[in-house]
Structures are given as C-alpha cells and as structure tokens.
Symmetry: D2
Subunit: 142 residues, 4 copies
C-alpha cells in the first residue's frame, strides 16, 4: 500500500474523538484490512462490568471502514451505510482487537466484515463479535 493512503487513513483516524475517548490505536493497515485495538476501559462498560456493545461495535465498524478506505479512490472519504453485529461472548478481558476486511470493493459500495476479539492480560484471545456491512465512498466536497 502506498504511503499516501496510509497517511490519509492515519490522519482520518486521528480526527475521530470517539477513538481517543476509547484510547484506541490503529495497529495495522494493509490493502483491504485494518486492525484497531483499545482497552476495555472503565469508561466504556455496560451494566455487568464488561465492555459495552457500543464499544465493540465502534471498534469493529471503524476497522471495517478503514479497511474499505484502503480500497477506495484517492481523495474519497468513507461512511457506513449499514452494519450488522452478532455478539458471541462478553467483552471481558484487558483489551479488544478489531480486524476489518474488505470482501468486495465496488465503485461506490464496499462489502466488509470485521471480527472483534477480547484479549486477556496473559494474551489469551476469544472472538466476541462478528460484523458484516456496507461502506460507501463519499466525495469530501459533496
């Protein structure tokens, strides 16, 4: 992947205040894939003390969005059209690792998936959610 695309994604990610609120970092970026990691922080819990589905969704959606952006024309911005999440286990552990992937890149619409894993301090991983959705390339001027 060219350095321009990488820089573009990193600059966009840095502007997302929600990712900063979650302490998230963009850990890996390659053509058609993106990995975002965030702690299961004290500010992002649900009523049972594990990570809120909103945290899991936000990380998976964002990883899927930037995976899609790597496949879009230069200058395009990415927005979520729709996203579906199946939650498979509580978001318990030290951190969440969300990996987004492009399934089919079209001119305007890109089909994506994301897997979100929870990792303990000891490094044990467990899949907590699977996402499947559609991203759209938008003209930043439009």
């Amino acid at each position: 992947m060219d350095e321009g695309t990488k820089a573009r994604v990193r600059a966009s990610f840095a502007k997302q205040s929600l990712m900063e609120t979650f302490g998230a970092s963009l850990d890996a970026l390659a053509p058609g894939s993106c990995t975002i990691t965030a702690p299961i922080g004290a500010n992002a819990r649900q009523q049972h003390g594990v990570g809120h589905a909103g945290l899991t969704f936000a990380l998976g959606d964002t990883a899927a969005g930037y995976a899609a952006l790597t496949a879009m024309p230069e200058g395009a911005e990415v927005m979520t059209v729709e996203m579906k999440i199946n939650l498979m286990a509580p978001a318990a552990g030290a951190r969440l690792i969300a990996t987004g992937r492009v399934v089919k890149a079209g001119r305007r619409l890109t089909v994506v998936t994301a897997e979100v894993e929870a990792e303990t301090e000891a490094g044990a991983r467990r899949t907590v959610a699977l996402l499947q959705g559609t991203m759209i390339a938008v003209d930043p001027a439009g």
Copy 2:
C-alpha cells in the same frame, strides 16, 4: 408499568459507564418502549466532526435493550444477541434521541427496533438511523 421494573431499569442504566461517558439520560420508560437522549459531544465524533456511528449505535442498542427488559420476567438481565443499523443521515445537531421498541416479546428472545433522531438546538428533528435486532433474557446468576 410497575415501580419495581422502572427502578430496576434505572439502576441498570446507572451502572453503564459508557452512558455516563456519553452524558446520556434515560428520559422515558413505558411497557415495551424506552427513550435515551445524549448530546453529540466533543468526545464522540467521527472524522468529519459529526457523531460517530458508534455513538448512534450505542444509544439505539441501549434504548432497545431496556425496552426489551420491560417485557422480561422480574430478575432477568438483558443482553444483545445481534443488532443491525442502517444509517440514513449524519448525526449532526445538538443531541441524539434514541427510542427503542419491542416488536415481539418471547420467552427468551425479544425482537426490537430503535429509531435514532438528531435534534438541533432549535428543536428540529431528523431520523439518522434505524436499528433492528434481538435481545435475550439472561439469568444474572447464570
């Protein structure tokens, strides 16, 4: 709706640190419905300066979950099995208003929808997202 259920939902909501992070309040609760409001805060934006899809999802999912809880047996807790969101407009304005509704309450599984509206300071509303999903009643001891 009996006062016990109301108190149970409010106590559960108060334990969700993500809702506190978003400055969200539980504004209305009735059998089969729940409304949650939150500002489109400076800490919950995406790269274009409007509310992040993760904020919209979190509010819609939580409103749908508590709508479902009002229809569940006393003592049950609620968890999201799966949720789908269609985003229809940018989350721009002063605040988001999420209204969750029960479509079909079963013994274990409850089908829910939620609508999320953005409201300007002047009070103009616009639908930004529609959610449809499944909630499950879980035994808090289990």
Copy 3:
C-alpha cells in the same frame, strides 16, 4: 402515483418467474409502499411443513424493492443491496401478506422495511417476520 410508475412496477413484477412459482400477486401499490400476497404453497415448505424462510424472505424483499422503486427516478431499476430478516413466528396458515415501505429515499440508496404476516383461511393475521434493508437504483442500460 402516476399510471406510468404503476405500469412499470406491474410489468417488472410479471417478469419475476419466482413470484409466479410462488403464485404471488401484487395486491397494492402506492407511493412508498407495496403489498404482495402468496399462498403458503405445497412447493414452498420447510422440513416442518410450514412456509420456508426463503418464501417469507422473497416476498418481503420483493415488496420492499417495489416500494423503493415507486420513489426512484423514472426509468430506474431496483436491486437489493442488503436485507436483514428477523423471523418471529412460523409461516403457518393459508397465505403470506408482505408489505414493504420506504423509510428514507436517497438519490441512489433507499432504506426500506417490510412486514410479513401469515393469514389463516378465517382471516386471522399474525406477524411472522420483519425485514430492514437497502435498495439501490440501477441504470437498466448498465
């Protein structure tokens, strides 16, 4: 709704051999809505003898698609981008009645919902499924 749009939708519906296989009829059409009815026929069952989820989906998806087409520019064709279905009760009874509705019509993408009801010979109705999805306007010339 103008007669041209009505004629266009009816001509398109008549070309769908799957609708003929199911014995489906286009019962109502108005701006932003469409109703399709079909018997729960002997050729469309699942293993327990009730209507197959594929029948329910096909009727709901088609009703939603033609609801969307009523809101699209003249000459456009409609295709499903994605669709989600929650099944709430077995498709038991004499017939299924699928009602599609436009939630948000955009230039290219239209957000739709559909409700599918089962009706007994005696006329009792029960909701069996709820669908939510995205339709796209396509240029028939490609």
Copy 4:
C-alpha cells in the same frame, strides 16, 4: 461426523419442498459446514432474468441451518432466528453453490455464516452473496 447426524440432516432436507422446487441437492456435510447446490432455474428468476435474491437467500439460509444442526444435540431441530444477506453480484450462471459454516455454537443459539457462489457451465465461480445470522435449536416436541 456420525452417520446418525448425516442421516438426520438428509431426511430433514428431503422434507423441504422448497429445495425440491429449486432442484437443490445437499452436496457436502461435515461437522460445522454444509454445501447446497441448485441450478439458477427458469422458475426462480427476478425481473432481469438472473436468479432472484429469494433463491440466493433460501440456499444460503438452508446451508447455514444444516451446518448449525450438525453442531446441535441429537434430536434437536433447527430454525432461523435472523439472517442478513449482502448481495455482491447478480446470480448469473448455471448454478448456485451455497456453503454454510458455524462460527460459534452455543447451547441454544448458533452463529452462522454462508457464502453463495454462482458457477458458469465452464466452472468459473464468483461470490454473489454473504450471509450472517443466528440459528436456534428447538425441541421437535415443543
């Protein structure tokens, strides 16, 4: 996989009249996966002459359901709770090949995915749809 489970799935598949209407065959069955193939028949088309989304959905949903059934307790039946489909290309060609897979098998709920490919007479394959959903184990007596 034991012969009992195989026989149980094949007997259940044989009872689905919709699969017979589509000329579908159960081509492969292994623990956690199932493959179903059907021609893109003259009786299952949409208005542009390619396979209807209802055909694609029915094959993907059924393959996912039987993949889930291989992971369920003996004697259980399987039903679809919810299913989401993203359509990526027209269902054009000679036949559709749907492969269902178990992502997470729980006591009651099983998360599944399915991929549906179109194959030409010459054997060229193209992914036309991706499905993600939830199956539930039901007691046939209940």
